[in-house]
């Protein structure tokens, strides 16, 4: 047993698949390692899908609780990251839906979408700033579709299911979002 103190190091560089298998067997340390590895991405993604940072952190927490309950059923541990992102997608969309039933006025992205000045955006390499601005101007339904697809890597079917619309609608919204984003980014150049 003398080398058990090496376990944190072993877990730290273990691939997702091994961590997922262990977590599926009930190993809390492995799940925590997996969660810590992907939590920043989950948080960043959730922030793009909901309207406040506090809400995003709630989504991440709920997603991780759901993930722990379900990870024994994860067939392909190498896809753990995509699986976690899928759970975040669903939770975030549900959060938005719940909020929507309460209010309609606050349905705009808050200050987290940092708007650059045109000068800033014009600086070389600032495509991401231009995108950030353009994204914040998109209608909510298009923005969601685009974020789920482009940042979350979700399929049309997954997005359709999460949003409760048809896959054809997803395609349409996505196309409109992309067209607008491309046009706006062009104007910044």
């Amino acid at each position: 047993m003398k080398q058990l103190q090496d376990l944190p190091h072993k877990l730290a560089d273990a691939p997702d698949a091994v961590l997922a298998e262990r977590a599926g067997d009930g190993n809390v340390a492995a799940f925590e390692m997996l969660a810590r590895r992907h939590a920043p991405l989950m948080r960043a993604y959730a922030r793009r899908l909901v309207n406040s940072h506090a809400e995003a952190d709630d989504v991440v927490q709920d997603a991780l609780i759901a993930a722990w309950k379900d990870i024994a059923h994860l067939q392909d541990g190498t896809a753990a990251k995509a699986w976690l992102m899928r759970i975040v997608s669903r939770r975030a969309v549900d959060t938005g839906r719940r909020r929507k039933s309460h209010d309609n006025l606050d349905d705009q992205p808050e200050a987290e979408a940092i708007l650059p000045t045109p000068e800033q955006a014009a600086v070389a390499g600032s495509a991401r700033l231009a995108l950030n601005t353009a994204l914040s101007r998109l209608p909510e339904e298009q923005r969601r579709c685009w974020v789920l697809k482009e940042l979350g890597g979700q399929s049309y079917e997954e997005i359709a299911q999460a949003l409760g619309i048809s896959a054809a609608s997803v395609r349409g919204r996505l196309a409109r979002a992309r067209t607008t984003l491309m046009k706006e980014m062009e104007e910044w150049r």
């Binding site: 009930g26 922030r47 927490q61 995108l131 980014m185």
Partner: protein
């Protein structure tokens, strides 16, 4: 782009082409300046999205560093019990251990060996009936540089020995599958260089 002529291809079709790399319309798309301009736009949009996500992740990591610890503390993950394995006791005792505990034991034994990190571990057979043959199947992630046959034998011996002491299972076989080889640790000499047999 030629503003006087619209080729009529939709952004959906071009996105699909970009995603899949194929299209029944590829012959047109590949030679149409308008489509090519749209494709270039889509590509730089995706590239900008990746950069933006990198920024997002960086700030998600940087903001109030304690957030993740807070979330972890809130998770309160319950361990998994699995099946119940009976143990011999007195007439009035009902002793048992859980499958989860036995698997955790196998994990601990394996993890303590140099170069070994246990993945999935399964007990095959009816563990709820005393004396029934049980086979242990273990997935192992091994550190590069450890001879695998020797490592497998060491692990098998250690698991057999431990289960004999800590359980009443009739273990008939321990199957070891190396499912992953991790690169060697660079730098610090400590860690898993030893063979770890004790």
């Amino acid at each position: 782009m030629n503003p006087t002529h619209d080729c009529g291809r939709r952004i959906e079709a071009l996105s699909d082409y970009l995603d899949s790399g194929t299209s029944p319309d590829a012959e047109h798309i590949d030679y149409c300046p308008q489509c090519q301009a749209q494709l270039a736009g889509l590509r730089s949009l995706s590239a900008a999205a990746l950069l933006m996500m990198d920024d997002d992740v960086a700030s998600a990591t940087a903001d109030d560093t304690g957030w993740l610890d807070g979330i972890m503390a809130n998770l309160r993950l319950e361990s998994r019990a699995g099946r119940t394995i009976p143990l011999r006791g007195g007439e009035l005792d009902e002793l048992s251990e859980t499958e989860g505990a036995v698997i955790a034991l196998v994990r601990t034994v394996g993890d303590s060996l140099g170069g070994v990190l246990i993945g999935r571990c399964q007990l095959e057979g009816d563990v709820s009936v005393p004396g029934e043959p049980v086979e242990v199947k273990i997935n192992v992630s091994a550190r590069y540089g450890h001879p695998l046959p020797e490592l497998a034998q060491t692990l098998r011996d250690a698991v057999f020995a431990e289960l004999l002491v800590e359980t009443e299972l009739n273990v008939t076989a321990v199957h070891v599958a190396f499912t992953d080889i991790r690169p060697p640790v660079i730098g610090n000499g400590s860690g898993e260089s030893g063979k770890g047999r004790s």
